[in-house]
């Protein structure tokens, strides 16, 4: 059983917060034990009981008064100390200026639109639900939402930040080890708040630039007749009204961009790993896997379904 993600940091910012969690937990646990010991002794000690309940020895009261007063002051000092420890960690996390990689993350009801902006329009990467980041570089996310409030949270890398319609929040983090870090939407956003997962794939520079170049290219043309039939099926079914595949006439913006669907590792915002089987099951009955999602249940013939899945799996 590995450590919980928040205590298994994979970046300097997460490391700072993990250190903070350990120090706070340690101190609070110590205080709790002290209070429990005091309580236990208070309960067990045989204090002689005078008949008249109001008879209280003033000397003892005065002494205990000093102890309680002292403890109160001590609590105040501890609390002030913790406040400054917190400020220290806060400065290290939120004080980061600039950023080597800028990513726009736009929240939708129940999936994440991810854009890597660039000066030339054709070099803009549009993908969904998964972020590729170079290892060791400061990544700055610009977070906003088109519908309700979501919250971007990948515990291994950084604390969460909300995506609020009408506002743009920023979140900066660095991943210092390659790996796949999972996260989930942390602000209740409706029926499928549960299946709104996000994945951050940290990789070294070479892989990152290769991935980015792949993403910028237009969709792969169908290589086999089955894929060609699948493309035809895609363009003649309701898929085009919501999804876009750059390089074809499909330009819907309601759903995720499918130009490089096969290059992603999950579908439906982390509901399932992407394989031929899960993709077919998802297209055939999205409400089965994610009840309440905005993808409608379409009546597709078996042939259409199979060729469609072939075509989509070809969109590396």
């Amino acid at each position: 059983m590995s450590w919980p993600e928040a205590l298994d940091p994979k970046g300097p910012e997460a490391d700072a917060v993990a250190g903070l969690i350990w120090s706070f937990t340690g101190l609070c646990a110590f205080i709790w034990v002290l209070v429990m010991v005091a309580l236990a002794v208070a309960l067990i000690r045989r204090h002689r009981q005078s008949e008249d309940p109001l008879a209280v020895t003033i000397g003892e009261e005065r002494r205990v008064e000093w102890i309680v007063g002292g403890l109160a002051v001590l609590t105040g000092l501890i609390v002030i100390g913790l406040t400054f420890i917190s400020y220290g960690a806060q400065a290290r996390i939120f004080g980061l200026g600039g950023g080597d990689v800028a990513i726009d993350v736009i929240g939708h009801q129940w999936w994440w639109e991810v854009r890597y902006p660039s000066d030339t329009a054709s070099a803009t990467v549009v993908t969904a639900n998964e972020l590729h980041v170079p290892v060791g570089k400061l990544v700055r996310l610009r977070l906003t939402s088109t519908d309700v409030i979501h919250s971007f949270w990948v515990p291994s890398l950084i604390g969460k930040a909300d995506l609020i319609p009408g506002r743009t929040n920023t979140l900066a983090f660095t991943a210092d080890r390659p790996g796949v870090y999972a996260g989930q939407c942390a602000e209740f956003c409706g029926l499928q708040h549960t299946h709104m997962g996000i994945r951050v794939i940290a990789e070294d520079d070479a892989d990152f630039t290769a991935w980015k170049a792949g993403q910028v290219a237009a969709a792969h043309e169908p290589a086999t007749p089955a894929q060609a039939a699948g493309k035809a099926a895609f363009l003649s079914n309701p898929c085009v009204s919501c999804h876009a595949i750059r390089g074809t006439t499909a330009g819907g913006t309601l759903g995720p961009d499918l130009t490089h669907l096969a290059s992603r590792t999950t579908i439906a915002a982390g509901t399932a790993e992407l394989t031929r089987g899960t993709l077919a099951a998802w297209i055939a009955d999205p409400q089965g896997m994610k009840p309440g999602t905005n993808m409608p249940t379409m009546k597709l013939s078996a042939a259409d379904l199979n060729t469609l899945v072939d075509y989509l799996m070809g969109l590396k």
Partner: protein
């Protein structure tokens, strides 16, 4: 006294109005709801035109979830491109009481499915049957023909016309003005 309370509660729960159910998946899933509608009241002989309507329409106009989804599709599929927010533009207005092809929800659904001359595209195959019904229910609510406690409130967008739950009801009347595109030579 207790029996009275119990009976009251049971009666209340039976009247569980379906107006709030989130039906994610139409039952049954069909590519197209079979129905026969009449665009006009004229028909040979003295019998009115034969119509065979399914009860789907009533189901959709009484369910707040479907009407709300309809509003989402209205902007998502760019219906407001031609009809704007109901006031009309290159397409006819939808929030008035004039209906060129019939004001019942089945007629509106047919207009969406078949498309209409002078620019209304046919959405058959481009959106699912359920979405067509949801759009039709929403279009009906634009002229106040859906009860105000089912209709939508305002959108989180710029305010145009009053929201559908504040639109006074305008019972559908036949006939609408001929769109500009029809005046140009065909």
């Amino acid at each position: 006294m207790r029996r009275l309370l119990l009976a009251g509660l049971v009666a209340l729960s039976l009247a569980a109005c379906e107006r709030e159910d989130r039906e994610y998946r139409p039952d049954p899933i069909v590519t197209e709801t079979p129905q026969k509608i009449a665009l006009t009241t004229l028909s040979p002989g003295d019998t009115p035109p034969i119509t065979d309507l399914s009860d789907m329409g009533a189901q959709y106009t009484a369910n707040a979830y479907h009407v709300s989804q309809g509003k989402k599709w209205f902007s998502a599929f760019n219906c407001n491109g031609c009809h704007s927010n109901g006031g009309g533009g290159s397409g006819p207005p939808l929030m008035d009481d004039k209906w060129s092809y019939g004001g019942k929800i089945e007629n509106i659904a047919q207009s969406i499915r078949e498309g209409r001359p002078n620019g209304m595209p046919s959405w058959r195959g481009k959106i699912t049957d359920e979405q067509i019904w949801e759009l039709a229910a929403f279009v009906l609510s634009m002229s106040g023909n859906v009860t105000s406690d089912v209709a939508n409130g305002r959108n989180d967008d710029m305010a145009g016309k009053p929201p559908e739950n504040m639109t006074p009801q305008q019972p559908p009347q036949p006939g609408g003005q001929v769109p500009k595109s029809a005046e140009s030579p065909q």
